[in-house]
Amino acid sequence: MIEFKNIRKTFGDKVVLNDVSAVLEAGKCNLIIGTSGSGKTVLMKCLVGLFEPDEGDILYNGINFTEMDDDQRKELRQQIGMLFQGSALFDSLTVEKNIMFPLNMFTTWTYAEKMKRVNEVLDRVNLKDANKKFPAEISGGMKKRVGIARAIVLNPKYLFCDEPNSGLDPQTSMVIDKLIQEITVEYNITTVVNTHDMNSVMETGDHIIYMFQGLKEWEGSNEDIIFSKNEKLNSFIFASNFLQDAKDMRMLEAKGKIDNNRNMDELLK
């Protein structure tokens, strides 16, 4: 579980995060959503320690991250996996070596043991026959999968994903979302996803935090979002007519007026 309290972060005179607090639970996909410049990336970078918050506390299972010294942070970070927006794979290393890198650094395993684990995680992210390829030789979706594989190779307790769907087609996005969701439950990880993707919000958002101009504007689940009266949230999530229609359908479904499995087909005949 990750808890952050009263996080404030400024860059010069600009207040990017203002008094943001929330609890992110284990085994759940916690989504941070918001428009560009709303502070969600800065919030994520504060949570993993890439930025230092000006004020506030970040607690990992009750231990204050902001008060940890470098050695304690290094220890905690070995329990953190992160998938970056651009995947951040090491260009000069093959897929296999990229995934093996954390194992080389932090374990004393034999080469055979490390290879076994690499193949396990590659198998878990459904990526086969890519071991010897370099990042430049694989597609965006494959890079994301390698990024996920590298993030989970040390069995982390916390997984952070910064815009995992950026630059991917809708079908691949869904595969990545599903993968993140499955891994979260399977490994009982506290997953934090920073996303713009509305499909991710509706499909994987066990817990959603909506950021607006550096403030936490709304918090709830993907089911709550349908019934939310928050105008800012609604104008962000259901910006297009298509998404508005989808929301109406979900509301009708929730109220029992249509059954998504049966009478939708009948109505469409």
Partner: protein, 250 residues
Amino acid sequence: MTFFTELGRYLLMLKGMFSKPENMRVYWKEFMHQCSEIGIGSLGIVVIISFFMGAVSAVQTAYQLVSPIIPKASIAQIVRDTVILEFAPTLVCIVLAGVVGSKIASELGNMRVSEQIDALEIMGINTKAYLIMPRIIAALLVIPMLVVLSAALGIWGGRIAGLGSGILSAYDFDKGLMQNFVAFNVWFALIKAYTFAFIISSIPAYFGYHVQGGALEIGRASTRAVVISCIMILFADYTLAQLLLSAPAG
């Protein structure tokens, strides 16, 4: 950003490099890789430059020594001292600032921009220790070696040019080479080589490590790194000459 802010960040970067390696074997591998990149990667250009600078030095010295009372062997002596004192350490290091410096700055800059450095940080790795320290130590090991090689090749180039163009005989050249040899000059060249190696590796590492932005900023950082390294090399060259070579007044 002011000069003192930059200097402070540079010193903090150097301080941040000193920590216990997460895994000594991985660090060693990275160090060996950097030795190969810096040493083998620059060998070709060092060989070519060194040979020609020695050759040109011999021809131009002969051109200027027109007096018949100056023995021909003096040409070899001048070539030797010029190459050892100045050409091999300074000229070669200025070229290496371009070759190695721009490589270090652009590599680290690209890693920063593509979030690879952030990825290492998240894994719990001290990126200053893992990325910068091996480069600096590798440069400190191989650049003095390149300078020694350069001095030898420079003198050999001077000999070939001197003999080939009929300026002096092999006997005169070898005689001049051994005349009034001051062993301290070699030590001085090595002191310069170590100083310049540190400059060539640490300044570009600083600029590359702190890049913010995209491809354009990587290019700018790389150029800045080379320019400032060259200026610092010349400044250090003058300072070391003043400190170690100038005779006390009176």
